[in-house]
């Protein structure tokens, strides 16, 4: 019995992974459509922006359009540095980048299966504390205070974090800590990231990647809550 279960699981995994690979292969229904126009994104972010096998390429589907637009503009202008993205969007006008952002913001593809974690229980517990309650001793607000109780982000500029894999979260928080990634002034994430230790970053990423996505992964509406830090991207 357990053997058959194992076989089933292996088969399911094989199907899932082959499907994940197909998700990165270009295809479209109509040439004159947004779907066809954003084929430039699919080998890394997947057909519906759900992400692909590589843990470093983030899920972009369903993040607030304002956030996605800010990132596209920052990649184009070089204020956010990642050479493959900087190159791809270098000569695209604002209006089109906005349309791309709105396209992905509307999509709600299924979430990829969670990656098994190697983090210790203590690490996950520390992550949970930071994400859900913050750390008053470090003047750290909880992640959920801005990114929403379901970590689905907040309109217009706070990204959803649910469904992101640890490699990506660690890389971004680290870039923020060392000043390589910045956001619009006042840069609230900078205030937060510079208060995090390396261990905190690992803990937050580990805990987040274990969370189940909520039934409705839409971002919360703008400023329902009073944000603990002022953020330029919410203005």
């Amino acid at each position: 019995m357990p053997r058959r279960l194992l076989l089933c699981a292996a088969l399911a995994l094989a199907i899932a992974s082959s499907r994940a690979e197909d998700e990165a292969v270009p295809r479209f229904k109509q040439v004159d459509s947004m779907e066809a126009r954003v084929q430039g994104c699919v080998t890394c972010h997947g057909h519906e922006g759900q992400g692909t096998k590589s843990g470093y390429f983030p899920r972009i589907a369903g993040k607030p359009a304002g956030y996605l637009y800010n990132q596209l503009v920052a990649f184009r202008d070089g204020t956010r540095k990642y050479a493959p993205m900087n190159y791809l969007v270098a000569y695209l006008p604002d209006k089109y980048l906005k349309e791309m952002a709105e396209h992905y913001a509307k999509l709600r593809p299924a979430f990829a299966p969670k990656e098994p974690t190697t983090a210790s229980e203590a690490t996950i517990a520390r992550g949970k504390a930071l994400v859900t309650a913050g750390d008053a001793s470090k003047q750290l607000p909880a992640c959920v205070a801005c990114h929403g109780n379901g970590l689905t982000g907040m309109e217009p500029g706070v990204p959803g974090l649910v469904g992101l894999r640890p490699a990506y979260i660690v890389a971004q928080l680290t870039r923020w800590r060392v000043g390589e990634r910045v956001a619009a002034d006042p840069d609230c994430m900078k205030r937060i990231a510079t208060r995090l230790s390396e261990g905190d970053v690992t803990a937050v990423a580990a805990y987040m990647s274990l969370q189940d996505p909520p039934k409705d992964p839409s971002p919360e509406s703008a400023n329902l809550v009073r944000m603990p830090f002022a953020c330029g991207s919410q203005r």
């Binding site: 990165a24 292969v25 270009p26 295809r27 479209f28 040439v31 004159d32 066809a36 126009r37 954003v38 084929q39 430039g40 994104c41 699919v42 080998t43 890394c44 590589s54 202008d77 070089g78 204020t79 050479a83 493959p84 900087n86 190159y87 791809l88 969007v89 270098a90 000569y91 695209l92 006008p93 209006k95 089109y96 349309e99």
Partner: protein
């Protein structure tokens, strides 16, 4: 072997330079009491406005803003690093700030700079500034560009010193460079050609400064007139600027005027699409070109003399191992065919055709390999604001798979290209996409 030769050339250049230095060292222009800051400006405000607007249009055609701005900086305030094989050159502030820009220049100063490559204070400009092409621009057009630049908001931003290696940091060397590669003179219309052809020639050879990239650059950063439009690698950008005269490359002899104009002004056409450095040119400059000038440029480019010196590669050079062809076809059908069609026909103008596309079959496979590795978006232009893009495959395909698929598109469908080796892919993979 190359180093001693280079050293010898440098010594000769220094000698030549020293010899003509006194003769050619110009110093500042004598102050002209009457001054002619905007001499062509007519009496009425409307005429002045029209003149400034014409200057703006011409400045677009010259693509001044692309080099004289940092990506996130103020337009025309300079500071952009121009990577050259000799070290970084930083572009200057050409906003009308009195202290750090060209606020105190006169139209005479500006014309002399454009026409001769000599700055207001008498220093010789490095040929990263395309004065060898801008020398062809008429006095009236220079005055209009100057009037436009003077109308901009002044930006106080000091020019950054160049970071050139010895001996290239010695401007005296430029005297030698100029005697070898610079011919001063405004464009002279060819009476045997019609006005449209002459307008096209004026724009392509002058403000458009197309030969800066589409002519092979030699060790000293010079271009030979006899090699004009014959194509070459763009130094430090690692893209190949195809020959505009060879029908094996981007030779436009058998293109329709419509397609040539569309490629230049829109960025896409039924024959090919622009990416990389040419996408930047279309984005910043050519998309603003009016239909009349676009047609003129197309007429001139189409009529460029064909120099099909290089015959098609012989059949033996085009032989591909069956295994490579199979891999190439497998990758093509899986990854490429959705957009480029199983027979390479594409969905023009949005997804370019690969069958019969000269930029795929030309001798240098650099651009095709780079496109497979890094993908690319054509520029978003006034007539094509929402371009279709190609994704990167560098993270999905191994060197031998990229080589096989590029080989496949170079020889399938009666294409006349030659096979590509995985080592060539590996070299280009090491570069950052740009």
């Amino acid at each position: 072997m190359r180093r001693p030769v280079l050293a010898l050339v440098v010594v000769v250049l220094v000698a030549v330079g020293a010899f003509v230095w006194t003769a050619m060292h110009p110093g500042p222009l004598p102050a002209s009491p009457t001054g002619t800051p905007t001499r062509a400006v007519a009496q009425s405000a409307n005429a002045a406005t029209r003149f400034i607007e014409r200057g703006e249009y011409l400045a677009r055609m010259g693509d001044c803003v692309a080099c004289h701005s940092e990506p996130t900086g103020k337009p025309f305030a300079g500071g952009r690093a121009m990577a050259t094989p000799f070290g970084n050159i930083y572009t200057s502030n050409i906003t009308p700030d009195d202290e750090t820009g060209i606020g105190r220049w006169t139209a005479d100063d500006f014309y002399r700079m454009m026409h001769t490559g000599i700055s207001r204070d008498g220093t010789l400009l490095y040929p990263a500034m395309p004065f060898a092409q801008y020398t062809k621009v008429t006095r009236e057009d220079c005055d209009a560009i100057f009037a436009y630049l003077q109308s901009l908001l002044p930006v106080r931003q000091k020019n950054r010193p160049h970071e050139l290696k010895f001996p290239f940091n010695k401007r005296e060397l430029l005297v030698g460079w100029r005697t070898l590669y610079f011919t001063e003179g405004e464009y002279k219309p060819d009476p045997s050609q019609n006005a449209q052809w002459n307008r096209g020639a004026y724009l392509v050879e002058g403000l458009g400064h197309c030969t800066m990239c589409h002519t092979a650059v030699n060790l000293l950063g010079g271009t030979k007139e006899s090699k004009e439009f014959e194509g070459g690698m763009i130094p430090n950008q690692n893209w190949y600027a195809p020959s505009l005269t060879s029908n094996r490359e981007a030779g436009l002899g058998d293109w329709s005027l419509q397609d040539i104009g569309s490629l230049l002004q829109v960025g896409i056409s039924h024959r090919a699409t622009v990416y990389g450095p040419m996408a930047e040119v279309v984005y910043n400059s050519l998309q603003y070109m009016n239909d009349e000038d676009t047609a003129a440029m197309a007429v001139y480019l189409k009529a460029l003399p064909k120099r099909d010196a290089d015959p098609l590669p012989p059949g033996s050079a085009r032989l591909v191992q069956p295994g490579v062809m199979e891999t190439g076809q497998r990758v093509y059908l899986k990854q490429c065919a959705a957009c480029h069609h199983s027979e390479g026909k594409g969905y023009p103008p949005h997804y370019p055709p690969l069958a019969g596309n000269q930029s795929i079959t030309m001798a240098s496979p650099v651009n095709s390999i780079r496109m497979v590795l890094n993908g690319g978006y054509p520029p978003g232009t006034k007539k094509n604001p929402r371009p279709h893009g190609m994704p990167p495959f560098s993270h999905l395909l191994k060197d031998d798979e990229v080589a096989a698929v590029v080989t496949y598109i170079r020889v399938a469908w009666n294409n006349t290209g030659t096979p590509v080796a995985p080592a060539q892919v590996n070299e280009l993979r090491k570069l950052l996409p740009e």
